[in-house]
């Protein structure tokens, strides 16, 4: 038996499709299908028809008054695995189906959440669910990076982060109960950098006996971050494996803020100037972005130069929101990485 109930009394799902039949019919009738779930060419039908190969069970909150789910609404592990693979592939391949990727993201994130709920209700745990949860972490990491420039109304980084943490916590707990995975060092390294402001992750890395290039990279990044060595941090970013670069990207605004803060004191002068060009290569920003940051932190500008002054740094300023590092091509590297992860961790013929 592949599923391990913690207490043995869990319900075992019998639904063999990605979406239970009753839900599919209900949503088709009520016109609640997502465009990604409709049969091609039926979008203008009344109502549009569901494509059973594309329709996936929605997430619904468990709440008082909602009936507990029956076995025929729950998907057993192999189906959950298949569903996850389908969703991740959809996220990687369907580039412009809906015009923008955030629509695909919303769909995939919601349906993955439903997968996690099925896992919890059936008490599935241990080694079998690890690859599912691990790839979910990679997905949220990738999405968080890819969508970081959008407005909060289009993409909520906090919610994405909560889902990522939910997955990664489950993964780490599973490791802690003694279930090993070939991806353990990867996930531990991601966690250490994702949660860089708390030392928990890096302490985990340090205390584990196993080490690899990945964990060394993550520890090194942590040290550079906490000692504000912005010069080496940005330089090392270029050689960092894609998942770790993704995890670091969200912290770069505060690294830059700290850099501007230190430079405001160290380069403080009424006469001396610092070229924008130099800062642009140092902090991996375009010259335009350097100027915008300078303005945000209260640093004076003069043609192609900045003029730092001790008293001018604006301590009330918030870090300038995250942007993507276009020239590092993290996105495409991450896509390749996740595809490879699927091949290595799942039997894709199923």
């Amino acid at each position: 038996m592949s599923s391990l109930g913690i207490l043995g009394n869990f319900i075992h799902g019998t639904c063999e499709e990605m979406c239970p039949k009753s839900e599919l019919e209900f949503r088709q009738r009520q016109r609640l299908l997502h465009p990604l779930e409709m049969k091609a060419g039926t979008i203008h039908h009344k109502p549009p028809l569901a494509d059973p190969l594309k329709t996936v069970k929605e997430y619904s909150r468990s709440a008082a008054g909602v009936k507990a789910e029956n076995a025929d609404q729950l998907r057993p592990l192999p189906v959950l695995e298949r569903t996850t693979i389908y969703l991740i592939r959809l996220a990687l391949e369907e580039q412009d189906l809906c015009g923008n990727w955030s629509t695909i993201y919303d769909f995939v994130a919601d349906r993955l959440r439903a997968v996690r709920k099925d896992i919890v209700i059936q008490g599935l745990s241990g080694r079998d669910v690890l690859p599912i949860l691990e790839v979910m972490v990679l997905f949220h990491l990738y999405a968080g990076y890819r969508l970081c420039e959008l407005k909060v109304s289009q993409f909520d980084p906090k919610l994405n982060n909560d889902m990522l943490i939910d997955c990664v916590r489950r993964v780490l707990d599973t490791y802690d109960y003694g279930f090993t995975s070939r991806n353990q060092l990867l996930l531990e390294s991601i966690f250490a950098l994702h949660d860089i402001n708390r030392t928990e992750g890096v302490v985990r890395l340090l205390s584990s006996k196993a080490r690899s290039k990945l964990t060394e990279d993550a520890i090194q990044m942590f040290i550079l971050y906490s000692s504000n060595n912005y010069a080496r941090l940005f330089r090392s970013l270029q050689d960092l494996p894609a998942p770790l670069a993704c995890a670091m990207a969200q912290h770069l605004p505060s690294v830059r803020r700290n850099a501007f803060n230190a430079m405001s004191v160290a380069y403080s002068s009424k006469i001396l100037k610092v070229p924008v060009q130099w800062l642009s290569s140092l902090l991996l920003l375009s010259c335009e972005e350097v100027r915008a940051e300078a303005k945000n932190y209260g640093v004076k500008q003069e043609a192609d130069f900045l003029q730092f002054s001790k008293g001018n740094f604006n301590f009330d300023s918030k870090p300038v929101p995250c942007t993507r590092l276009k020239e590092l091509e993290i996105e495409s590297k991450m896509q390749v990485f996740i595809k490879k992860f699927l091949v290595q961790n799942f039997d894709l013929r199923k």
């Binding site: 391990l4 913690i6 207490l7 745990s125 241990g126 109960y177 003694g178 030392t199 928990e200 890096v202 302490v203 340090l206 205390s207 942590f222 040290i223 906490s226 000692s227 504000n228 060595n229 912005y230 010069a231 080496r232 330089r235 850099a259 803060n261 230190a262 430079m263 004191v265 160290a266 380069y267 403080s268 002068s269 001396l272 100037k273 610092v274 070229p275 130099w278 140092l282």
Partner: protein, 344 residues
């Protein structure tokens, strides 16, 4: 009647220990503490039972540790989070004690708070939930008799609050707490004094006080010696080797990151040497870069050198400024490298 419950659960726990069933023993001990909590609640204006509570709580924590250890070893599918559960039980007691503000000063159960907090600290540090310590610290800081708890409890309390402050990079505060703890720790508990020093020494180093060899020898802490030497000399490579050599010790005690932070002190000492050799107030960044490379940061470039100097200036560890155009560090004519204990 809670008293009979206490006795019954206690006997069951003792019996499970005899059978080597640690998880059962832990569960029964949870019963003991729960019954004691009820019992305490019934007692008005008396606190003679606090030592009973204290003993039961210590045993609860020790049983939780043992039960976790056994579970980890057995790779069992089910897993009871004993330390978390123990913390919950302890919090139950804590609430009763902390809210007993109607009794007179001699009779209030609030005298039991600190002992409970120290038990909770031990659990939270073990499960890496340091953020949960904050409200507990506040409860003691706000207590009118915070100076009047027993000295041994205060020593323990300061040891943990000192460590917490160290993790939060509040080094002055960490120094004060750990120093109190060290000074007031019983002379004969060398083991505890040594434990305190494991944190006090790196904190002191960061504030500019290097440990004497005799002290390290006395407390069997020579693991710190090569690191201290390397920092003094400004030898980054030496520091890396020193950390590597005693890596397990540093990691186990949670001071590895602290030692990495000390690298900045090593850089400061190195740059000070260059300043003395060149004997000028306008130091070529290139010269500092060469020194960095020689000291072990072999792939350091000029940008990184400027970055390190910028941080040192920002931390007041160097008095001066950088001229990017001339690639020079211009240091103050007076006291360009102020003594570390005056600036940190």
């Amino acid at each position: 009647m809670p008293l009979s419950e206490i006795v019954l659960s206690h006997l069951q726990a003792a019996n499970s220990i005899h059978d080597n069933d640690w998880l059962k023993a832990f569960e029964h001990q949870c019963g003991v503490v729960a019954a004691i909590t009820k019992w305490l609640q019934l007692q008005k204006d008396e606190n003679w039972s606090l030592p009973v509570m204290h003993t039961a709580c210590v045993e609860l924590r020790l049983l939780a540790l043992q039960a976790e250890r056994i579970q980890k070893k057995s790779h069992s599918v089910s897993h009871v989070e004993c330390l978390e559960k123990a913390a919950e039980s302890l919090m139950g007691c804590f609430r009763i004690c902390a809210s007993d503000n109607r009794s007179s000063e001699e009779m209030t159960k609030r005298w039991g708070m600190l002992a409970l907090i120290n038990q909770l600290f031990k659990v939270y540090f073990r499960i890496n939930k340091l953020n949960l310590c904050k409200p507990l610290i506040r409860a003691i800081e706000g207590s009118p008799f915070k100076e009047d708890f027993s000295l041994s409890q205060q020593v323990t309390f300061r040891y943990y609050t000192g460590r917490k402050a160290m993790f939060d990079s509040e080094f002055r505060q960490a120094e004060a707490y750990l120093e109190y703890s060290f000074q007031h720790c019983h002379v004969q508990s060398r083991k505890n004094k040594r434990r305190i020093l494991i944190y006090l020494i790196p904190v002191k180093m960061l504030l500019g006080y290097m440990p004497k060899r005799a002290l390290l020898e006395k407390y069997d802490l020579m693991a710190f010696w090569p690191a201290a030497q390397a920092i003094r000399e400004g030898n980054s490579n030496g520091l890396s080797r020193a950390i590597e050599k005693n890596e397990t010790f540093f990691i186990k005690n949670g001071v590895y990151i602290m030692l990495e932070k000390l690298r900045m002190i090593a850089f400061r000492n190195l740059f000070k040497k260059v300043y003395h050799i060149l004997n000028t107030h306008q130091i070529d960044i290139q010269a500092l870069n060469v020194a960095l490379k020689c000291s072990g940061v072999t792939d350091a470039d000029v940008d990184e050198t400027q970055c390190l100097v910028a941080n040192l200036i920002n931390d007041n560890k160097i008095k001066g400024y950088i001229s990017h155009q001339h690639n020079k560090l211009v240091v103050s004519k007076q006291n360009p490298f102020p003594a570390l204990h005056t600036v940190a």
